[in-house]
Symmetry: C2
Amino acid sequence: MGRDRATLADVARRAGLSKTAASMVLNGREGTRLSAEAHQRVFAAAEELGYRPNIAARSLRTRKTATIAFVSDIVATTRFAGGLIRGALDAARERDHVLLITETQGDAAFEQYAIEAILDRQVDGVIYAAMATRRLVVPPAILGGPVVLLNATSSTQLPCVLPDDRGAGATVAEALLAQGHRDRIALIGRNRQKERDPEISLAAEARLDGIRDTLAAAGVTLLTEVFCPEWRPEHGYAATRTLLSRPERPSAIICMNDRLAFGAYQALGESGLTIPDDLSVISFDDDPIASWLRPGLTTAALPHEQMGRRAVELLLDGEGQGPALVPMPLRRRRSITAPAG
Amino acid sequence: MGRDRATLADVARRAGLSKTAASMVLNGREGTRLSAEAHQRVFAAAEELGYRPNIAARSLRTRKTATIAFVSDIVATTRFAGGLIRGALDAARERDHVLLITETQGDAAFEQYAIEAILDRQVDGVIYAAMATRRLVVPPAILGGPVVLLNATSSTQLPCVLPDDRGAGATVAEALLAQGHRDRIALIGRNRQKERDPEISLAAEARLDGIRDTLAAAGVTLLTEVFCPEWRPEHGYAATRTLLSRPERPSAIICMNDRLAFGAYQALGESGLTIPDDLSVISFDDDPIASWLRPGLTTAALPHEQMGRRAVELLLDGEGQGPALVPMPLRRRRSITAPAG
DNA sequence: ATGCTCTGCTAAATCAGTTTAGCGACGAGG
DNA sequence: CCTCGTCGCTAAACTGATTTAGCAGAGCAT
């Protein structure tokens, strides 16, 4: 890998100058009194030799590696994680940085390995990411340098990037109100554990709050709320069957995430009900399946790519970059319409 | 990040020995004539100081960085990619290495950036991965060091890791034959472009071959084959409708991937047909939705995690590691049964 | 006493950069 | 004529490891 590369000494020699001169010119140092001609010669020599600095050598002196560590619990290998990484990758590239990725899998030994690997390589900063939006404990060892939390908060005073779940709740509620839904809106996916334990999820409570407040402002309350032990399709399926067994049928169902909505679609299909004519469905996340469903599922999208970007921006450009609460845009598809009758 | 770290000089001083001695002891060099007592002192000092070597400094001298570059076209941020990365991450950790991840997005400028970033950082090797199993052109610049192709081949003589799509085709066909399906097996997802152009997909033709050969060996031929412009749910939906509009209804449908199968489920559901009683469905990939469908979809799984592992093993441990064709195990769920009537 | 080998260890070079301190030439001012 | 400041540039130190070359002392044979 990369033998025979021209070194700074080669460039200097070819330009007929010292390493010092070459280094200063190539780094665009201000206040140096090197002649315009010297600049020319160095640039020409570097160009001709295809010179690229050796980052290891440079970082030995400067302690900068142009490398960011992306540490996640398990996010990197999850279907949702892609966007997070891609956004971070893009933003890093724009700033001439590169991403070192590690995964702790929630395992203390793996986390230890990840931290040591990172420290050994003197990364410029760490993005500490979680799969599910939640509160976590940051290992003190990495606090020696800049850290940004991605999709997570902690009790320490660290900058963090979160999706605006509360705003998404409001958005979803507004979308239904705008279609004329009022007192027959049901919700599936209530989950005491998720709502109460911030180490599991910050999303659940925030979404719920956004929904409730917005409906309340319009003088509306939820028709009913169905609890689910988890947020997977089978639970959405079961919850929807429960819902349909009750005397008053809702005009719309809000699902706490798309996997639940997927289960709801299955249950509604089996019951011979048509979406959205018999019943509107709306949800959160914008999982890839949302666009595969028939009809397409209207859902508030987790802005993973934006979040990944923002994390890098926060880390490298400092705090001035703006809000760390990233809005969740509504993806409008065909699953909601005005209530029948 | 990591200031105040003890250096080798610190360790040597505390042990009352030279840097040379400390270095040799810590690297477990054979043939050194340092006393057992000197060993003790060095280890003790390193322990007490929490010494960890600075990798940048070391690699300046040794040209080893304990870092592998994972370059992908777009795989890293795709729902499928997770396993590839996770497998690689795990195998890398076991060998005390770390992964530098970059994405080219199929863009030449990005690829250039990725290559330079990699070369600048003197990685020990490169895993060059593709999202879809295909043939690709490896940029000559990275051929200076070890390279392994992941989910891809090239015209150059590089080691590569591929899923055994042909074997999977055989597995799928066998599963249907074992249930008693014979002359009413349909296939959806034929696609001339994918089958013919190895730069787009190696999977399509291989799967098809595996299916055909296995059926032929049992004296069976496909009832019908429906073409699809792409392998997305809507195409599976359309293809299935086409299939159902024909006079002879199949007893089983083989879908070329799970997304097509998802579309097939939708179409079958609309037609009031029950899976698997009216019709068996079987497929390839083991996309997460396969387990979410009702009934669960039986499918030959892409062994992404295994593939990612194997790539690192091939890169670091050499070629002796065994076959680069990774078997695709059949995930048996409830979507196939014996044909009705 | 001399030469030889072996043991146990170290000084110094090296990797490829950045950075500090300062040198020689030249012109201006006193 | 001497001093001073500026200009344009360079030597050498430094970063933290590995590695080469070799030194001092002990033991042994001659």
